[in-house]
């Protein structure tokens, strides 16, 4: 089951539609990393709302996606972790350390927009200000 990846402006949005095998997850990782370069994406959103469980392999793959995207210049945010899935993750001892998460797609987009602004701020001259007008 291939995960559709949408391009929206500078962002890539991967919406997981169903349970995924390990091979599906690995394929998602490869596809996202390739597309970050091809589309010069600044941000990646992985929507896991439809994922039935988050086990050790899924978490490892999501972490890899975030770290690899970072090395390619894009921020990643994982959205839609369901409460029951979160509960099981905690019991398993799984963390998404170093990976941004948000409640849903909207919050995820807001997060990436904020990161983008931060990047602009970084480029401003000392003591200067960015004129957004």
């Amino acid at each position: 089951m291939e995960v559709p990846i949408l391009k929206q402006g500078h962002y890539l949005i991967a919406s997981i539609q169903s349970a995924l095998t390990d091979a599906d997850l690995s394929q998602l990782r490869e596809a996202l990393i390739e597309r970050v370069g091809r589309f010069r994406a600044r941000g990646v959103i992985v929507d896991v709302t439809a994922l039935d469980v988050m086990d050790s392999f899924a978490v490892r793959t999501l972490r890899d996606i975030a770290h690899m995207a970072r090395l390619r210049g894009a921020d990643t945010v994982i959205v839609g972790i369901q409460p029951e899935v979160a509960f099981a993750m905690v019991q398993l001892g799984l963390t998404l350390k170093g990976v941004a998460t948000a409640l849903d797609l909207e919050e995820g987009l807001a997060f990436l927009n904020q990161q983008g602004e931060g990047r602009l701020e970084d480029r401003r001259p000392p003591g200067g200000r960015i004129d957004r007008g």
Partner: protein
């Protein structure tokens, strides 16, 4: 037992299939959807271990009653290489495959009962149970 479900594990789709069947068995036995997810997550870890370390094996699902309790029983069996140091395998972070080393200890935390038996060169069996009170 008549209502015993035997699921062969030999490919990664079988891991997904096993955890989904586990969820269904738990749902039919009246477990909350939270518990269904917990059981499915534990099965996912144990089934993947079969695939990864033993290449093939099986998961057997059943429902048992015990007084005022009902339980989902998951048995995972393989005839793979076995585990040399069981105590270490059950520790967080111990992995011989560069994994997170959370599958076994995590599944143990998720379930109410967890038993691991293994003999080098003969195979591994994990038996785990989740209970719920009736009424």
């Amino acid at each position: 037992m008549a209502d015993e479900l035997r699921l062969p594990i030999a490919a990664d789709v079988d891991v997904v299939q096993a955890r989904q069947q586990g969820r269904e068995v738990a749902a039919n036995a009246g477990f909350t959807s939270g518990d269904q997810t917990v059981i499915a997550a534990a099965i996912s870890e144990i089934a993947r271990n079969i695939l990864m370390y033993a290449k093939r094996g099986e998961i057997v699902l059943s429902v048992v009653a015990n007084g005022d309790r009902q339980g989902v029983v998951v048995i995972a069996r393989d005839q793979g290489p076995g585990i040399r140091d069981i105590a270490r395998a059950l520790q967080d972070g111990y992995s011989t495959s560069g994994g997170l080393g959370l599958g076994l200890p995590g599944a143990k935390r998720l379930m109410d009962e967890f038993e691991l038996t293994s003999a080098v060169g003969q195979g591994t069996t994990v038996t785990m149970k989740k209970w719920r009170r009736l009424g």
